[in-house]
Amino acid sequence: MKRLSWVAVAALAGTALFAPRFADGGLLRLAAEILLAVGMAQMWNLLAGYTGLMSLGHQLFVALGAYALFETTQRLGIAPWWGLPVAGLAGAAAAALLAPVLFRLRDAYFAIGLWVFAEIGYLLVSKSSGLGGSGGRALDVSALEDVESFQAIGFWIAAAIGIGMPLAVGALMRSRLGLALLTVRDNELAARSIGVDVWRVRFVAFVISGFGCALAGAAYYMGGMFVSPDSAFDINWVVMMMFATLIGGIGTIAGPVFGVLVWYALRELLTTVFGLQGGWYLIGMGAVAVAASLYAPRGVWGLVARSRGPKDVGAARPAKSDALEG
């Protein structure tokens, strides 16, 4: 990575370190939300942008992580952040179990297949009184010494996820597996012909994606200290991840980061400046997604990356060639 990027990352991490000292609670909460959204969008992009598996069911992992953390915290009577690894592992395990079934479906059918599993999770959690039922449940904070510092720790965790995940994906792309991912992204047939095990590459990306989304989801609801099935299994999680990735630039590392910033900027713009209420705001977001799919299908970052040439490992996916498929 270029030196400039490292300076930016270091500045961001430094700001995050001291942010709880000078920022008020509301601002800190918004910043944590944005950072976690960056992590989730990055994980969605890892799957959709690099392996061509678009998911409409990633809310399953968000919710799974949240419930795993809440359950672990309560069962073991430990501080909530110790539940984070469990949450991540739960997401990874779910992805590993679902992959063999779901990989039989292609393209949109994979996307909706995962959505069905998210719906099953929603219905099961809503019915099970042990997990709080449809009303939701509060986080067990009895193991915490003071709730004041808990907010700061929650923010630092969010910052670690929001800054760490794009870096981790960047590092992954430089590894052997990352190269395989890039070949699968660019041309699946060519990847197969040079000996890339496409199924295995997809599987690993799916498991990492499930792990990361569950971790970010758990951190989000840990910060809110309350989770309900309606909120955790909300399809709007996927709307956000997909919007951010596609607006920013699919198959790039900077794209989802940029896209999340656009998403939150639009949200603030539509709700505060234009004063749009909940429903109208979502209609506006839908309209932006429609317009983006028609006029900038490779995202804003995709346009930038193309003008810089193909040196960036995260460069946007080239127009698909039909020559090999026909």
């Binding site: 959709a48 678009m54 409409l56 079934v101 039989r104 479906l105 393209d107 949109a108 059918y109 996307a111 909706i112 297949g113 959505w115 069905v116 599993f117 719906e119 099953i120 219905l123 099961l124 019915k127 399809i235 709307v239 997909m242 596609l246 699919i250 429903g279 109208w280 979502l282 209609i283 977001m285 839908g286 309209a287 932006v288 997604a289 429609v290 983006a292 799919s293 028609l294 299908p297 996916r317 127009a319 698909k320 039909d322």
Partner: protein, 288 residues
């Protein structure tokens, strides 16, 4: 006997589910696009029905099937001509997905804004409460008629695709769009009509379902998932498989509801998972 009636009613409900899936499968088969706003159009059909029933209270509700279907055809045609063709041309499979997903978010929330989020139903008049006794089973006349109508529509579409000029053109475009273009066919125009048909089926089925079940603007998601499950259970690309898939889901849902009230959809989803696990090619298998 009670159980048998549940199964029969489930199969009848399945006729409607089959129609949900039919539109989705038709669009996918011809232009390789999964319309993620399909469920919202199903709900839109129901809202249009509410509107028309209020406007023309002297007419029996079943007469309104025709205007709802025609409106669906016009909407589908306009949707395809206006935006979806553009996305299909991009060649990237993610583009139409994002487009229709954005549309579904818009439509869903627009319906909340205009009609409110309350549950509603359409009063179908005497027809929905009438029933006939068959070998000691009480079967609603309405679901029976709906199933007959669904079978009729399946048959009509099958005939249209197999034996008409339009059907030959549609199949040609689905199989080899470039070759069809060389023969003087404009794929985009064919797509417009196909989307018109698909949305007409969706809105008609949504209108009919609304006379049996409550709906809200948020019901679209569940309806779309059902439509999708119908297609997978029936077997991708299989025509009559979709009708069978609809029946399997309808039965699963009503039996589930009987076992555990308010958990009907859960059982339908679980049946889908079982099919995916043990019969990944669906009931009809893969034809190719």
């Amino acid at each position: 006997m009670d159980w048998l009636a549940t199964v029969v009613n489930g199969a009848l409900l399945g006729g409607l589910y089959g129609l949900f899936g039919l539109g989705l499968a038709l669009v996918f088969g011809v232009m390789r696009v999964v319309n993620l706003a399909h469920g919202e159009f199903i709900v839109l059909g129901a809202f249009l029905g509410v509107f028309l029933v209020g406007l023309l209270p002297q007419l029996p509700p079943w007469v309104l099937v025709l205007p709802v279907a025609l409106a669906g055809y016009a909407l589908g045609w306009g949707l395809q001509a206006g935006v979806v063709n553009r996305a299909v041309r991009s060649g990237n499979p993610l583009t139409p997905l994002m487009l229709t997903f954005g549309l579904s978010v818009m439509l869903r929330n627009a319906m909340v804004q205009f009609f409110g989020a309350d549950s509603r139903a359409i009063d179908g008049g005497v027809l929905t409460t009438a029933g006939i006794d068959l070998l000691g089973l009480r079967i609603g006349l309405y679901p029976l008629l709906v199933l007959a109508l669904a079978a009729l529509l399946f048959g009509a579409l099958h005939w249209l695709l197999r034996h008409s000029e339009f059907g030959r053109v549609v199949r040609a475009v689905a199989d080899a769009p470039e070759m069809a273009r060389l023969m003087g066919v404009t794929p985009a125009r064919v797509f417009n009509r196909v989307m018109g048909l698909a949305i007409a089926f969706a809105m008609l089925a949504g209108f009919l379902l609304a006379q049996r079940t409550l709906f809200t603007p948020f019901s679209g998601v569940e309806r779309m998932l059902i439509a999708f499950e119908v297609v997978i259970i029936g077997g991708l690309g299989s025509f009559w498989g979709a009708l069978a898939g609809g029946m399997v889901l309808g039965i699963a849902q009503l039996v589930g509801q009987k076992l555990d009230s308010n958990a009907g959809p859960l059982y339908a989803h679980l049946v889908f998972v079982l099919v995916l696990l043990f019969m990944p090619k669906g009931l009809a298998g893969e034809r190719r």
